[in-house]
Amino acid sequence: MKKILIIDDEPIIRTSCERTLAPKGYAVTSAASGAEGLALLEKEPFSVVLLDFKMPDMDGMEVLKKIQASSSSAKVIIITGYSNVDTAVRALRSGAYNYIEKPFTPDKILSAVKEAIDDLEEK
């Protein structure tokens, strides 16, 4: 079972992702802050990380850099507001796998996650 980590300070986003992904056979874990997410990543490996870029405690880019620097091989998908395409591009260049704009539909999350896992498995 593929493990997926959601890092977002918004409970509704976390819940939405959990409720979308869990029925499709993914093991979903949630973290309400960047620090909490990083701590979870150290404890166990995840296939995909859904990372919100706008959080009060830690900037999404910072979290992304820390994940890249760690031993984790998880694919990071950035969740961003539409207008932050600029930061999304920066994130992609910093090693993020993909990005999803808010608000998203369950299909978008599922296809993005599936794409990432397929890519991971190919390697």
Partner: protein, 532 residues
Amino acid sequence: MNKIFGNPDRSLVAKLIIAIGVLMVIVSFIFWYAILQKQQQDIRSIAVKYGDSFLAFIKQSTHYSMLTLDSAKTQEAVEHLSSPDVIKEVNIYDHGGTIHFSSNEERISSTVVKTSLACTACHEDPEKSSALLNERMRWNVTKDPQGVSSLSLVSVIENEKDCYTARCHVHPQDQKIIGFIKADFSLGLLDVALHKQKEALSLYVAIFVIIVSLFVGFIIYTMITRPIRVLIAGMERIAGGDLDHSVPITSDDEMGVLARSFNAMIKDLKEARDQREKWTQTLEEEVARKTEEIRKTHASLVQTEKLASLGRMAAGVAHEINNPLTGVITFAHLLRDRFPDKSQEVDDLNVIIEQSERCSKIISNLLTFARATPSEKGSCDINEVLSRTVFMLKNQEKFHHIKFDVDMDEAQFIVFGDASQFQQIFLNMFINAADAMEKRGKITVASRRVKEKGKDFVEIEFSDEGCGIKEEDMSKLFEPFFTTKPIGKGTGLGLSVSHGIVKHFGGTLKVESTVGKGTSFFVRLPLSETHQ
């Protein structure tokens, strides 16, 4: 007459006439006086001549009676020859001054005083008998208390052969002067004639002065005063603002030249005034036009700024709305999956999903044009911003069927500004192009260096193969809220905000379009001077 002379203080003619009149009076008086003097002199010399003849006649008349010592006869002749009206008195003296015969019998035997004409006619000093005058003043003119002048004339009776050879032997031969005869003639009649002549002459002179003065005055009036008055009237009209007036030219003399020059001057003045009025009007129009331009620019700036701050506020709100909207969409989807297809519940949930997605689109449009991120100014590599934007858009669903034809100059185009704002402009250009082509076709992007007014610019071209822009929409293209997109698709802010940003950084935004063929937008941004 008043018209001619006017006020002597102010009238040139009056002054001239007075001056000429005074001169003529003085000259005429001198002539008048000279003529009268000469006439008097002539009359007197004639009178003296007649007087001399008369004295010679007396001498002859009494010659015989003298030689015969017939005193009674001599006295009778003297009395007989004098007449009270003309010859007032006739006296015959001996050389000693004693009167021997007189028309006035009372005076016989009296002796004349030595200062009287009888003595002074011959003697310079009557006391010295030898002191004789070279020119004998034998006559003089006196006036009696009634103002009647009279001529006194003296004639010497010389010793002749008949006298010293006469039997009486009264006079020895060596005596040269026997005596003398003196007569007083009244010049009353001549006085009257002279006076009448004086009066006539005075009258003639006065008439002459008046006629000459009037004639000169009239000449001056017609030749100088009248044309000058016409000129003055013309000047007054012109001073009053009537530049259409001109002075009639009546002669070829200096006055005519003056009138002609005056008319020429007025013509020039009128032309200058017309020119000035034209300038003033042009200036006023120019000022009004500029004022209107400034007002419009200001209004549009205010509008843009208002919209920008409104947008910033809306963007902040929109970001927050995205989160609950994600929840609504997700749970609507999850709920829909639980109902069988084509059920009423699925239809209802589809409405919720559609409307939520519509909300999402509205928010995304709003966020595109009013970014919440603060402006960060610095040096931006335009080619880099452009390729980044293209790279990002290629992944977007909207651009899946659009081909990008990128032709960027290899040079680095460094522009001072905010990269995210430039990206916003480029994004907007691409979105408009995609909308115009209904998401299908080719977008040409090119960057190049151009020169404008001696400054270097980078020009970025965005060309599409879309529907083009109608002529009537061209002027409204950059107005806020102007959009040709369907309701809910466009905010009408894209080009307005883009234009504002380009202008803010000293650039220009131009558009060329052909309906049915496509549209090209040209963004020009000034190159940073250190990187030119």
